[in-house]
Symmetry: C2
Subunit: 376 residues, 2 copies
Amino acid sequence: MPDDEMRAGVPGPPSAPEASAPGRVPAVTMRHVAAHAGVSVKTVSDILRETGSFRASTRERVLAAVSELGYRPNAAARSLRSGRSGAYTLAVPELRLPYFAQLAAATVEAARESGIEIVIEPTDGTRESELELLGSERLRLTDGMIFAPLALSEADASALPADIPTVLLGDRIVGGPADSVCGAGDDATAAVTRHLLATGRRRIAVIGSHPGSAGTAASSRLLGVRHALADAGIVLDPALIVDRAIWHRRDGAAAAQELLRRGVAFDAVIAFNDMLAVGALRSLSRAGVGVPDPVAVVGFDNSPEAAFTEPPLTTVDIGVQAIARLALGALTDRIDRTVTGPGRALRADWRLVERGSTRPLSGASAPDQRAGSPAT
Amino acid sequence: MPDDEMRAGVPGPPSAPEASAPGRVPAVTMRHVAAHAGVSVKTVSDILRETGSFRASTRERVLAAVSELGYRPNAAARSLRSGRSGAYTLAVPELRLPYFAQLAAATVEAARESGIEIVIEPTDGTRESELELLGSERLRLTDGMIFAPLALSEADASALPADIPTVLLGDRIVGGPADSVCGAGDDATAAVTRHLLATGRRRIAVIGSHPGSAGTAASSRLLGVRHALADAGIVLDPALIVDRAIWHRRDGAAAAQELLRRGVAFDAVIAFNDMLAVGALRSLSRAGVGVPDPVAVVGFDNSPEAAFTEPPLTTVDIGVQAIARLALGALTDRIDRTVTGPGRALRADWRLVERGSTRPLSGASAPDQRAGSPAT
DNA sequence: CTGAAAGCGCTAACAG
DNA sequence: CTGTTAGCGCTTTCAG
């Protein structure tokens, strides 16, 4: 087909037939489609975006021209003109951790339903890398960001980019200008604790708190344990708390070893995620300590693998699907300016998933029988 | 600062001070920076992209203007002009499977080193969704695609978008126009089989083959087992093969149950991924069958969780890092046209990771002692 | 070494 | 209901 015909009616520059991009095939543009279908570019644009109403015959002619010419809209041009890329950034510390893998999967799937693409941005969860990301030009590609901070806290709220719509995951940074979505917190650990008490445990150990960080998932979870124990008239023995800032399997294994090494008696372990719990399970098994008898173990996140440990792990499903959906909705609200004003604190529902690792103690073996003294 | 000064020297339209995008703050553009620094936009552009050489004083003035005005380059405009977005698509079936989570993490991390963003595109691994993706406009956002097909095969090679640089993962589609990268195949299963033979096993079961699919990871892996057994003068008993198209934990659990139900004797299980192996471990444990004695279990992928099963799982590290790096490099080659011509078949190195689940049988207990007759 | 100007492909006024 | 046109912000010849 002669170039003349395809460009019919297009004023065009004197004569600059250079390729659209270096080393690329000259693109088929909307002008070509318009010329081919005998309509204006506006008509093509509107029909493709399903804006306005057109005669069926016109629509068909345009659509035919599109497929005949193999026309593909140019995302960059659309984005430049409309100011939207249709993509959001998801910044997570570590995709290898099942929780974040689940979160990413849930986010990508929920986004798909709204025709939104997700760009994954890893932060290794360190302060530097998180700050680096916030100042990075990489964020420019997308319309906004869902950010799960692991190191940054309330004090760093000012580092959040003012001009990039942001939704925060977790409760590390709440109350700033950005919306935040969090899942299971103190209420969930309280429920877990009550569950353990109900199964006859009294000396409940905790793995995964961090010492110096207020307002984090860890500290609020620890609080929940404290409160529930207090309600039962029990004071949490400091020797039963093992701090861990990193929550991988190996950290859980080390934490359980530490617990055993301390020689303190315990009949349950609350690990602040399933990875820690799996590691603990491993160390307990190695040390010949039975689960759920004499020691119960609970995790958080309801990772797929939790159903397949030995014994299957009781855990808290913190509802990643809901978290993803809430975050996406909140971000879209902000981008569209459907919602303005100060940050909202959204909360997703959680659910206790009871499995073998916390089965009630069968005999009347009171846990208090076992000797134990707090190791300073 | 008065608008006049910021726009000094800029011809500008009569008077159309509309915002750059509906409902957005009017952007700071390169023209503003140029005017502020008293240079031309070309100079700003070149300095920001580190092209050409400039007087140090000029560079400083420009950089100062950039930070003073809070200028941020516009990715869409850059992309429109240059024909590159700097983002690649990674299409994987299921982020929740540790293998793909690892792959995604490795890809994102490797891409970061080259300043490339990764857009995750989920296909549920079904034929329809994979075909849907290939024809989708969603791919237009990025410069190319790394695609891990799970359902599509050699026959579907024509469905691959001709105008989108593509690299395929796995050996389902090889020999077409696209480069492909695959990891452990028949050579790895052969090595695993030899390892099991060396530990005294003779009746080796296989979980995860698919019946009708030639040229897949599954069939080539099965082939490796066959060959290695043949070299030892053993014919693989059909009753020891359990087909599974899906490789989640629950499928492994069901497969092992099936094996037990068949009443056929076996002293080892080769599962085609770690998830299957974990599921098998679970079923064996429930049935009171010891691991590694009398039954050894091996997986594939070296998932993080494999080191924490009971017993720890022997597995094959198929080198996702290498796979990610190879795929990224190949894709960049194609996008930059550094490489042209027919698709290359790249292969990443793998490595056997020996753990407790395949510890040699201690006693001289010949596995043949156990009665066993091929079912059907 | 620097500046002016064209235009990537698309959308959104604004007319008809 | 349809056509014309002016840029979105940036890169890039092409002159100076």
